[in-house]
Subunit: 131 residues, 2 copies
Amino acid sequence: MNLHLTQHSGVPPYLQIISQIKQLIASGRLNVDQELLPIRVLAEKLLINPNTVARAYRELETAGWLYTKRGAGTFVAAGTTAFSAETCRKQIRERVCALLVEAAHMNISVAELIKLIREMGNDLGKGDKES
Amino acid sequence: MNLHLTQHSGVPPYLQIISQIKQLIASGRLNVDQELLPIRVLAEKLLINPNTVARAYRELETAGWLYTKRGAGTFVAAGTTAFSAETCRKQIRERVCALLVEAAHMNISVAELIKLIREMGNDLGKGDKES
DNA sequence: ATTATTGTATTAAGCACTTAATACACTTTG
DNA sequence: CAAAGTGTATTAAGTGCTTAATACAATAAT
């Protein structure tokens, strides 16, 4: 769990935590059922208020990335989303649409985009495991 | 220019305008050098304050989608971005990374993602022209 | 049981985002 | 040159987001 907050990016800390934990999970550097740092511990490491970490954990749980056992800790959930297949498709399609629009404006072809996705998609599964 | 604001989506009007105009341009339904509706006219159509439209136009200009001739109007810019190739790659890579993470969590494979991009990428160029 | 450790809930303060009101400046048109 | 039409700039109000302070509740460890 090596999280790192960027101070002057304009991105709220709780969102930075969320996206970084998502990446850790998706890349396999955090395993299913592995326990995360307790809210207060992570908060101390990051020099922020425990509530901020709590919010990140809570939203990750709502979206199906984590589950919590009160009094025991917070853990990585099995890889299933909390949303319906239909909702997922809709969300993904919206993201892809926006991506295509931006890529087109940057003179990045669909072919290049696909190449990039292939590369990065392969890398995702290759993260080093950590305790 | 058929823009449509969704009221209760939580997305600010100026952002809705921005993304819709980007799509219109990327899909070719708005042509290079074509004049957009004047700020006040679009504002009246959408029942919002002219400043809100002005903000959308301004940000689109900053990002290289539009150009303005003061006193004359606002127009679709040629298809080049306002950012360096390096900055573009970085932005695209970040978007792709986030997309891959979400897709993985939704049990959408890289192959499916690529298929989706191919389909939607083809559709993008096929928008009907409008006056 | 008791204590320590974990997450949860409530409230409020600060701050930034978003929109609106209004006045200004530049171009085009006649 | 005058008038109408265009984008621009400044300021302020409202609202929601974000974080923090603090107290609560459930579980684990002993």
